[in-house]
Symmetry: C2
Subunit: 326 residues, 2 copies
Amino acid sequence: MKIGILGYGNLAKGVESAIKNNTDMELSCVFTRRDPSKIKLLSENVPVFSIDDIKNYKNEIDVLIICGGSALDLPKQTPEFAKYFNVIDSFDTHARIPEHFANVDKVAKDNNHIALISCGWDPGMFSLARLYGNCILPDGNDYTFWGKGVSQGHSDAIRRVEGVKDGKQYTIPIQSALNEVRTGKNPTLTARQKHTRECFVVAEEKADKSKIEKAIKEMPNYFADYDTTVHFISEEELKKNHSNISHGGFVFRTGKTGWNKEYNNIIEYSLKLDSNPDFTSSVIVSFARAIYRMNKEGITGCKTVFDIAPSYLSPLSNEEIRARLL
Amino acid sequence: MKIGILGYGNLAKGVESAIKNNTDMELSCVFTRRDPSKIKLLSENVPVFSIDDIKNYKNEIDVLIICGGSALDLPKQTPEFAKYFNVIDSFDTHARIPEHFANVDKVAKDNNHIALISCGWDPGMFSLARLYGNCILPDGNDYTFWGKGVSQGHSDAIRRVEGVKDGKQYTIPIQSALNEVRTGKNPTLTARQKHTRECFVVAEEKADKSKIEKAIKEMPNYFADYDTTVHFISEEELKKNHSNISHGGFVFRTGKTGWNKEYNNIIEYSLKLDSNPDFTSSVIVSFARAIYRMNKEGITGCKTVFDIAPSYLSPLSNEEIRARLL
């Protein structure tokens, strides 16, 4: 399988590493909006091309993995390049998924391609855990906890506050809430009862720190509904101590079975990841295999992880996976 | 969806309860090898028929759930009844899955039916956790722990020992081994290091208890490779304290990502179940929905959980699951 990557940030580097760790795949090329001659890949002997020339490679790539941002890049890029390629993205702006799905679906179908959107761990593997859990236990509760890990969206929000030079925000699950769920207490939890938010902020010289702290803590949607801690640190400290890319989380489905709903059940799916982008890209690469195989069978249009039979993800034959993993 | 059940033991009663908990399904009838007039269902107004008349109902049931035993019933029943119905079983004799798959596949295809074998939680949901984990983290380790819960196979083995009147065996995961896996130590674990086995035995009057204990502890495959404890108790105690049907377990996939495999990742899927048969049957019933929908699309032949796109399991539309669960 020949994979192309669009973009070359952290996620793309993760995809490059994941391809190296899957022997049935090779990285064909990387496309960039920057000057290709300025990009130095981890891989030897893999060309970097300008995004402007991408159409020329439409017959040379089995799947294009689009590593742009959900806010501005993917809503344009995924439908645009589904014209030329089978594509995957990690679109995670939840409210806009129906619109994105429809746009991508039309182009992919019109061009006999397959596209997979919103792939990764959340959306992605956590979505699968929620779906399987809901189908098995229709009478029950869902709980998703994230962290401890850096939230890109919340870090961006901090950096938009006046007087802030740089900053990182950690989302931290509240252990007592996790334990209540895990021991079957089926609590009703507010946002504040599930996660705390811890911010490390580099202030501009002469900025009013108490004003920054207030602006962060009272920011609607992002921080107002949480217990938020703000630490002011130096730029050096931020680089040294807060470049960690680890993340993780927990998905629970709890629910009742039995004629009189007398039995309790707890399904838990959890991830502990040293590198958020490298795990996300490992998920994406296994789904790239799946959609490539599905497209060879004539399947086209936009898909999500829900539409992919798990056997398509594996490099092994169906006989082998039944023998080894069933 | 109209469901039929073949057999009426604990698993079948679980299926009956699970159907009640899914509003898009109804139980059409139960088939039995016993005298139908002697069977009293939990459901009102659902007929019980003799297995001898099963062919007469071939146009009245969407999926037949076969609730027989893996040793003697399913190898015959599943291929036999795939002639007349879409069928599901929970076949769990691992070594014989290839043969069972082939037998069922042929009959199902010849009769335009779909069949799903080996459905439940292990094989079943645990198999899915293993497959997804292996595909995402190709360079890694698998760990499956079961329990605490009664193992039917090991309880049967105890009861075959001379001088034993009745008995139950609990499989218990060793907490320190679980913790080593969960904290990323990637241990190499023997059977003895993963589980202990605890037996509660009712001896025949005048039986030699030390001989029984020795026979159990030294039994190859079942007990010799484990630290096994044997308790002799009365028949009353066994009934009173060891009729518990709870079970559960843990599936881990640990593995490395990154260009130099510098990042560790731990995926954990776990179940805590008050009732083993009721959870198993809840899984089966959600997959019954899936295969019914797939067969309506013209898909035939034998499948496993690996072959079922998760969206088929849900009573919700694809738009709804994308909006609510992605």
